[in-house]
């Protein structure tokens, strides 16, 4: 049986969907109540975290257990600079992307020496070092953290709406930007490096720099999303910002939804927030459920919910895969 062909909408249709969702999100603050807006900010931020990890694990082939490093770094960057220099924190948000990307770029030559799980854990070690460093330094607020002082004089609604627009833009970028990237030349190079670095090098792709590009981009995205998320919390402390449980949440969302797909984390984020609404009061049981769900998914359907749906329905929302002239996976 040959693999069923999978149909997907034309790029023009996806572009139209992007435009439509942009308009919807632009209007959202005018229709949604303040409490709901806050929840939407959190949902979009968590979705972007998950998507940044999904990008690294599923598209670049770099699985990290330390993505919370960039969430915390981005937040601390904005809180510290805006507090000390009195700069508008919203102007600093784009710079938090640059800061986290630069931090990742400095780490890359060392952590790239390790592969797979060792790479994954080495980032976690960096996150721990940064967390302990911040916890010790008074000028970084030590254990009790830093408040967001720069927005105190501003209008509350303006702050909430601007934060929402930032995080909505990030969520859109992490869907449609990823779609555009994976259809581009660079996206092909990333996929080639992920699947087989030997053959990628043989066709003239610079494996190290391609991977470097992916790592820096994914880290920067997590960083700016982390900064934006903590802008809505108004306070950042090392225990929360560098909490490995961020990693648990991202992992759950991406694994359940389907790693290496754009649609998967959308499903995963929906399930995560439903789960949280139902089980939030149960404390550890709720975290156990997240872990157990990841284990079961790995055993039953390693491609996640979207992976199963895609092959059952023969349809995908974001057509980023290219099928070769021969189907090497076909069996008699």
């Amino acid at each position: 049986m040959t693999r069923a062909s999978i149909s997907s909408p034309k790029p023009a249709l996806v572009a139209a969907a992007a435009a439509l969702s942009t308009i919807c999100l632009a209007l959202a603050p005018f229709v949604v109540r303040e409490g709901d807006l806050r929840l939407m900010i959190e949902i979009f931020a968590v979705f972007t975290f998950a998507q940044s990890w999904n990008f690294l694990a599923g598209y670049v082939g770099l699985m990290s257990f330390g993505q919370q490093l960039f969430i915390g770094l981005g937040a601390y960057f904005v809180f510290l600079i805006s507090g000390k220099a009195g700069i508008n924190p919203f102007l600093l948000l784009p710079l938090s992307f640059v800061f986290c990307a630069a931090f990742a770029a400095v780490c890359a030559p060392f952590v790239f020496r390790l592969r797979d799980a060792y790479f994954a854990i080495s980032i976690w070690v960096i996150a721990e070092v940064v967390r302990m460093f911040i916890s010790q330094k008074d000028w970084l607020g030590s254990v009790s953290g830093l408040p967001l002082v720069a927005t105190r004089g501003m209008d509350r609604t303006v702050v909430a709406n601007t934060t929402f627009y930032f995080v909505a833009a990030l969520a859109l970028i992490s869907v449609f930007g990823l779609y555009a990237l994976s259809r581009s030349r660079m996206g092909l190079a990333l996929a080639a490096v992920r699947d087989n670095e030997g053959s990628a090098a043989a066709v003239g792709i610079n494996v190290w720099w391609t991977r470097f590009f992916g790592f820096v981009l994914g880290s920067g995205l997590a960083g700016i999303a982390g900064a934006t998320y903590y802008m809505s919390v108004f306070h950042v402390e090392p225990g929360g910002a560098f909490d490995p449980n961020w990693m648990v949440i991202m992992l759950f969302i991406v694994i359940i939804g389907g790693v290496g797909t754009i649609e998967g984390p959308i499903i995963g984020t929906t399930i995560y927030f439903l789960f949280r609404a139902w089980f939030a009061g149960t404390g550890n049981l709720y975290l156990m459920l997240l872990g157990a769900a990841a284990v079961v998914t790995m055993l039953v359907a390693p491609k996640g919910i979207w992976g199963v749906l895609r092959s059952r329905l023969g349809f995908e929302l974001f057509g980023t895969r290219r099928l070769g002239p021969t189907n090497h996976r076909s069996s008699p």
């Binding site: 060392f110 390790l114 060792y118 721990e128 790693v259 975290l287 872990g291 990841a294 055993l299």
Partner: protein, 292 residues
């Protein structure tokens, strides 16, 4: 003098760290499997020890034997029931599976035993000391180092001299060839995971005797194990031992200078070694001496 004592204590602690790394390194060496749940299994072993030691005859320290047996069985079951199902060229499924397991285990322990700090009581032994070259050292830490050395040597000899040990090494080299000889490599893997778990469990119980633990200690243990293996040079036995020493000595000296630093300087030393020598200490040593 106080510094010499600190270094000696660091070496004692390092032996234990090496043992923590040994389980992770052994599993990786044989199966290319990185058990991310290792740290939480180490803590689970400490809890098992906590329940078994009141019933242990002769001396509480002998509780490491029943705990090792239980851990061996758990390890075999883990490999047989879960990890063997996701083996393959791609390592991501195994890593994610064990990460999920780690989350379940950690939060299960918090739910079951509470988040309080616990310790295994070895009685009077905790306070015994002896004088060595003018240094005042603890009996328990020294004994722990001896146990670590014995286990390292025993595993080394067993792998090289026994039939099953040879089989494990052959499977590590090429599991497909081993299969051609009529061996079910999945069974060999189960034994190897059992051993890795037993070694880690011993480390976990000894650590719980020397200090204290909480259900959240697992990630610290995992990071130590990981650093020991990487500093040692991924798969080098005695490199791991040296890696443990480096971390143990670093940590105790750092704690003397800066009591709130915790594991931070150990992590930093790990990165310095990684920067200077990508293949760890064993790699640097091999390059300098053997040109292997």
């Amino acid at each position: 003098m106080i510094w010499l004592e600190t270094i000696a204590n660091g070496i004692f602690l390092g032996g234990l760290y090496a043992l923590i790394g040994l389980g992770l390194g052994f599993a990786f060496g044989v199966m290319r499997v990185v058990n991310v749940a290792q740290g939480d299994f180490i803590v689970a072993a400490a809890f098992i020890g906590l329940f078994l030691y009141p019933w242990t005859p002769v001396h509480p320290i002998l509780v490491i034997i029943p705990v090792a047996v239980v851990a061996f069985l758990i390890g075999m079951a883990l490999q047989w029931l879960l990890v063997n199902r996701v083996l393959g060229h791609d390592q991501i499924p195994q890593i994610l599976l064990t990460f999920g397991l780690a989350i379940v285990l950690r939060n299960g322990m918090v739910a079951g035993f509470g988040a309080n700090s616990q310790s295994i009581d070895v009685g009077e032994m905790r306070f015994w000391g002896f004088d060595f070259l003018g240094l005042r050292l603890g009996v328990l830490p020294a004994l722990v180092l001896v146990i670590a050395i014995v286990l390292f040597a025993a595993l080394h000899l067993w792998l090289h001299r026994s039939r099953l040990g040879r089989l494990i090494r052959a499977t590590a080299d090429d599991y497909q060839i081993v299969q051609l000889q009529g061996v079910n490599y999945r069974k060999v893997y189960a034994v190897a995971m059992g051993l890795a778990m037993a070694l880690s469990a011993v480390a976990g119980v000894l650590l719980a005797m020397r200090g204290s633990f909480t259900p959240y200690s697992g990630s610290d243990r995992l990071l130590i194990a990981f650093e020991v293996v990487v500093i040692g040079g991924l798969g080098s036995f005695w490199g791991m031992f040296l890696g443990g020493m480096v971390l143990g000595v670093t940590q105790l000296i750092a704690l003397k200078l800066d009591p709130t630093s915790g594991l931070m300087y150990g992590h930093i030393v790990f990165f310095i070694i990684l920067i200077l020598s990508p293949n760890g200490l064993a790699g640097a040593f091999r390059n300098a001496v053997f040109r292997k």
